[in-house]
Symmetry: C2
Subunit: 973 residues, 2 copies
Amino acid sequence: MAAKKFVYFFGPQGSEGNATMKNTLGGKGANLAEMCNMEIPVPAGFTIATDMCTVYYKNERNYPPELAEQVDENLKKIEAVMGKKFGDPQNPLLLSVRSGARASMPGMMDTILNLGLNETTLNGLIKKESDTRFAWDSLRRFMQMYGNVVMGIKGEHFEQAITNLKNKYGIKNDLEMTVENLKELVESYKVIVKEQTGKDFPTDPKEQLWGAIDAVFGSWMNERAIVYRKMNGFSDDWGTAVNVQAMVFGNMGDDCATGVAFTRNPATGEHIFFGEYLINAQGEDVVAGIRTPQQVTLEGSKKWAAEHNISEEERASKYPSLEEYMPEVYENLCNIYKKLELHYHDMQDIEFTIENRKLWMLQTRNGKRTAAAAVKIAVDMVNEGLIETDDALLRVTPDQIDQLLHPQFVKESKKSAKLITKGLPASPGAGTGQIVFNAEDAAAWRAQGLDTILVRLETSPEDITGMVAANGILTGRGGMTSHAAVVARGMGKCCVSGCGGLNIDVEGKTIKAGDLVLKEGDWISIDGSTGEVLLGKVATETPQFNDEFEKLMNWADNRRTLKIRTNADTPRDAAQARKFGAQGIGLCRTEHMFFEGDRIKAVREMILADDLEGRKAALAKLIGHQRDDFYAILKEMQGLPVTVRLLDPPLHEFLPSEPQQIKEMAEIMGCTEEIINDKIKALHEINPMLGLRGCRLGITRPEITEMQTRALIEAACELTKEGIKVFPEIMVPLVGNVNEFKYQEKIIRETAAKVFEEKGINVEFLVGTMIEVPRGALTADEIAEHAEFFSFGTNDLTQMCLGYSRDDANKFIYQYIDKGILEKNPFRSIDQTGVGQLVEIAAKRGKKARPNIKLGVCGEHGGDPASIDFFHRVGLQYVSCSPYRVPIARLSAAQAAINNDVVRQIKQTAEDAYSKAETTAKDVYNTAKDAYSKAESSLKNLKETVENSELKKTVEEGAKKLFNDIKDKFKKD
Amino acid sequence: MAAKKFVYFFGPQGSEGNATMKNTLGGKGANLAEMCNMEIPVPAGFTIATDMCTVYYKNERNYPPELAEQVDENLKKIEAVMGKKFGDPQNPLLLSVRSGARASMPGMMDTILNLGLNETTLNGLIKKESDTRFAWDSLRRFMQMYGNVVMGIKGEHFEQAITNLKNKYGIKNDLEMTVENLKELVESYKVIVKEQTGKDFPTDPKEQLWGAIDAVFGSWMNERAIVYRKMNGFSDDWGTAVNVQAMVFGNMGDDCATGVAFTRNPATGEHIFFGEYLINAQGEDVVAGIRTPQQVTLEGSKKWAAEHNISEEERASKYPSLEEYMPEVYENLCNIYKKLELHYHDMQDIEFTIENRKLWMLQTRNGKRTAAAAVKIAVDMVNEGLIETDDALLRVTPDQIDQLLHPQFVKESKKSAKLITKGLPASPGAGTGQIVFNAEDAAAWRAQGLDTILVRLETSPEDITGMVAANGILTGRGGMTSHAAVVARGMGKCCVSGCGGLNIDVEGKTIKAGDLVLKEGDWISIDGSTGEVLLGKVATETPQFNDEFEKLMNWADNRRTLKIRTNADTPRDAAQARKFGAQGIGLCRTEHMFFEGDRIKAVREMILADDLEGRKAALAKLIGHQRDDFYAILKEMQGLPVTVRLLDPPLHEFLPSEPQQIKEMAEIMGCTEEIINDKIKALHEINPMLGLRGCRLGITRPEITEMQTRALIEAACELTKEGIKVFPEIMVPLVGNVNEFKYQEKIIRETAAKVFEEKGINVEFLVGTMIEVPRGALTADEIAEHAEFFSFGTNDLTQMCLGYSRDDANKFIYQYIDKGILEKNPFRSIDQTGVGQLVEIAAKRGKKARPNIKLGVCGEHGGDPASIDFFHRVGLQYVSCSPYRVPIARLSAAQAAINNDVVRQIKQTAEDAYSKAETTAKDVYNTAKDAYSKAESSLKNLKETVENSELKKTVEEGAKKLFNDIKDKFKKD
């Protein structure tokens, strides 16, 4: 059996892989292969497949023997294509080694450049005198990077060596370092390596290569990577690929450059090519944000200069655009980016290097973008005929819609705030908080419930926890493609980067801006959409939506089958939700109305009353309020259904707990504190979650159900008389037994009938139940014979199905996630395996018993995309969520409809199969070709051997005889 | 269509019904019909079917028109058979009207005797002068009974009239009342009826009859009946039948008598005919217990006299047995009882009346019996070849086994107690408690947790609640068949009846016995097996089992497929359970071991420890204790499996709650109270039931799991070395996710492996889980791939599936039962519809994933017969219950095996079908016979008419012509 293929070649003559092989080659490797196939100039290289990563960890970090063979074989191919030799002193091939997982994980994995350099091969780099410095700089860069990433030496040791050297010779800028300086630096690096690791720095290129491969695979399980995957829900099992590629150099002189670009603006989505580059630099310099990069396009460059108050003259001379600097390379780049966007049908994030005016592409991938950009690009691309509306709907994530709903500054509040400075608008949205200077503080302050803005000179992967915890990120250095900017956009967190106007002292925990000195804990506000940094707190608000957003949501509404309702207890919430597109209220909690103003007094009177008379008298004081509440909400939602849930929480929630409050209540109620304390004691429950609440209240105190029904039906009658359409749905909570429902339904229908008679009018209404007790789900067929609708209360259903008290489970739930026992928090996203079974069972049995039953969800899962997909699949008719999640739910529901569209799935499967077949065919062809060429040469050899041999005659005769024998045999048969 | 048949006749010539028709005719009616079919002398009558009761309540207490027709028709049949006419002044037919539901409900329903009497028909009763008094006495009895039961007049009005009359004439005894006295009494009764109801007492017999029928149907829904049904789990839908039967009189003189008998001794089960009778009395006199009845058999009579210190001379003259008094009637009765027992294959409870030396049977039914009697009779009947062992196993209820396990007096304690008096041993078992004098007090005292003995002159159905609440019942009057005796036996409550030696003043709340005066609240002890009444508290103990019991349990063990284990946490419990037949420990709760002695200190140290080191140090102090505990339990259960559950309760349960305790703990632990209070606060949970407990403890604190596993495995190794067989099963509690189980299993197996290595020995053990979280049940297939056994924790499963906190649900659960929302307490008997589904799902999926998985139950439902039947049906392998319920579970499991035996079910179905076919055939035959006789007489009439008519010729000619026409037609065709 042939050894398993772990290594895939790519190069100008074509690749063994392609873009569909992301799972095997990682995103980067697959796209490099694809670009080669598209005849785009890419330095040759090979990809070690992600399978290897899995094998590596399964075998306790060991490789199978065939890997070395395959690596050697492919290394030879690179040498052949690039015309250089790995480790050759005259014409050395240098390599970059990069990680590349299935999905992009920016900054999470480690990269090595210039691999293969040592003091011998270094000479091979020097073609002309001016290359000497470049060669030595490359070596010291390589040693620094390799020493840090592969050998685990802290970067500060190398930085210190540079500082020492600079001090020694009075050097201010890195570029001032001479060849001699660099040689001295290389010597001191050797000492550092020896000191820190007890080993010499490896000079053998092969040893360097395997060290780097080890480091890439090893980094898959480093803490940052694990955290990032957990944060994004990526599986540990995916593994990373390793991309080994011939180096090209953007730092070999002024006819060299390196850059990063987006085929459209990643912040706004505008259809404008957008990129940054650095002359005479390596790629890492751009990403690290240490030097301020120049714009690729002329238009971009002019705009940038205007934003930075730089004169056109200064700009053109000091910061020319690539369009001006190397027009022919620019044109080439433009052709490539257009080709790529057309090919990938999506905005691309590309990396390029220009070596002696030759353009090399080092990466292409679907570009990360802000929420606003995602919407605009998706809608634009449909308008451009590049994608279908379904594609557009899948291009925007529900999280991005969430970001669009994120606060922006209230204009007036912003006007009155003092502008401190302006940086780059790196990630949109507004944030306000207290200044902290490192990730640990950001996390610690957050844990105390404080709002922070994380201020750093520049960020690195170590800062991610802090970035998550902060309300916004402000950096002193770095461009739009710096680490801070990219990560913040991904998180939907606002970020202002490259704030050169601030003098940030991270150690001393101060920021100076002219005379102004800010300390840790001071309030600032940042606007990631404009780059503004403001003093103090600025009020925020939710943005209005633009046309593209409306268009996208319109497509979503047409595509989805799930209706979206909202959970709203007030007319204000109801109005907000309607604006966001809610198609009804799925959950109106009546208990919230019990707390307002002097109503709580009547509620408490009811609780304290000794007998039914007393309780009814107290309820009589409440009914007017409830009717008014219902009136206002029904009016707001006219024409749309409103599901009103009967009183749900245990009565003790309406009583005070603190002695002072009890005293006050006693005074108000005109009774002794003892009476109140006795009542509190009597109502105390060990497990209130499983106690006297929900319909158990309405059954033990039917007068409450009666009052609430009367209030609602009276309001409905009144509105109907006014000519306003109402669709009330009365919902009985916590039903676990059909008899509970029947008992409550009887009271509701009798009360409604009485009101109708009194008012002389009839209003249509439904009576249904929440399914939130496991038994309710299991006996849904019985319940559906009486209930006209089910609304799944997935919060309580989760609590009871899993046995997790929501109030207490945080004590173990996060440990469970850390230990891999739970994949995610089941209160955020529905546990499809467990709780999902109950929902599915109940939906199925409910529909069987009552085919036209209405089925919805009103738990918080109703606003969670993964849960919405599940609810779509089990055939619910609507989800209900908080007003601000309504747009998210609308998009999620559309995505659920698309993703579960059978026709679409079949099409996708067919496309996948075709592409696999194509790959296989290509493989077979290549194998056959190889075999043919091998066979040809073998035959040739054999022929020669035979022809030259004494045996020729014997063989010829033997062959003839054999031929005749066979002929005879055929004749016989 | 023929009108529905509601009325079924029975009489000496045979019946329309039979014993299999209990659902239609009620128990009494079906057995009366059966006796008639057996040619046993029964006064003719008819039964209005239970269907009528259902129709009656559905039609708002109205009858369909056909009922009156059917009643009239059958009344005529009775008149024909008995040779008397209803309402006839010369020879009046009098009737009894009795209720009769499917199952016997003693004292619950109302009875009317002598119906049809008025001042006119009364004369027809008087055949000779001596009958005059009997006739008037019958009338006043009838008026009193009818006035009370049908017209709703309180009995005390009539009693008062008697007292007044007695006082007026200085009469002491009822029997002294003369005809004139009785006439005066009748007049005063008329006045009472008029005063109390505003209506005259009905004199029309028909009106009387329909009033009585109404009263019987009406009584089905009286409160006593509803309470009794609820207590016994009978459905309200069954309905009662009404039995209308010709009266026979046991009170027409000294050649008349009435009595009640059991074919075997209902207290001991001895194979001895046992009965009581009264000369010149009506049946109600025996049951009411007002007169002390005489014994039916001579042997019984002699024994009775000895017990009551009555000389043989006095006995023979004043209290002769029926055997002596009317030998030929006695012989007749003996033949009948033997025939009945042989026919019904069970001990019969019979009622008879002797009217002028003619024996009439009024009722037969399977006799109620004590638990001991049930066991003895069942075993004896198998030995006699009367029934099969399966029948015997079904003859004893698990409740009766429970009664047998009830305490009896400790001999020494009893010896030193003062005997106050002796009554009849009416219901066995020993009881001790404080004296109360009425049912309300008994209930109220019970509610306060007090033990009571209910002392009454005699009991009536109104006393049932009190009888349930009390530890025992003591009555001043009434025999072995009195209300108190019958009901107490049914309840398994000890009762001493007919305690003539006590002067009981219920109103004054005192008992006098000679010089001794007892007041409310004084302690007494009663022995229902001996009739002894003892002063003060006497210690009780559980009885030893006799041979019959052992034999029955042996049959049960052979019959059942479910194994019975026990829940035991101590060697003592384990030993007790083994004696009761436990086949292993299904649940050993380790947390109980944490509280004992100074262990709690170490537990608290562990809780307070800041780090793993501290926790491990604390656990090190516990491990020795746990190992010793496990050693002792495993040793006790040698050869049997022992399931040890890892620590389950939330840690806060191990901390004190009261300030004083906290202070003490702080002193012991050498820390501040603040530290402890902080810890208490940190561990506080809103819903501890759904909090950090079960395996969540072992996952967040793996060192506990490690310690417990080590303790158990070390003990197991030690015993194995000593040559003692051990089968430990380690049970992980509260698993809802397979990953929880895997996490714990890993620790357990690794720890065990370490111990085995240390000890140089291997012990087989299983690792399994409790299924007590709904999600655990729903994902049982996943869990079973790793868990070697499931033990259903149906307590928690019920809590979570229903959302009922066991600690809090009492606030609504009883209201739910009252309102018909719940049928029974789901914590007592498993909710098969809801929780049952989870058990079934888990069992099925568990077996699918691991065909040899062990499945058991360790919730309290493991000792509940109905639940055991369910567990048998879903295919579990064992149930585990508390030691004292093990014998109950053994029998229940056998009954489950029998009741679910398919072969048996088929046989039963075939028998039922045969019997139905027989009935149908008989019906068809009777209908055909009727039709034939009707047709015959019609024909005769027609013939006569035609022959005598002028039309004869015309008709004959017409017929001839018609005949010829037809003939012609045939020819043509």
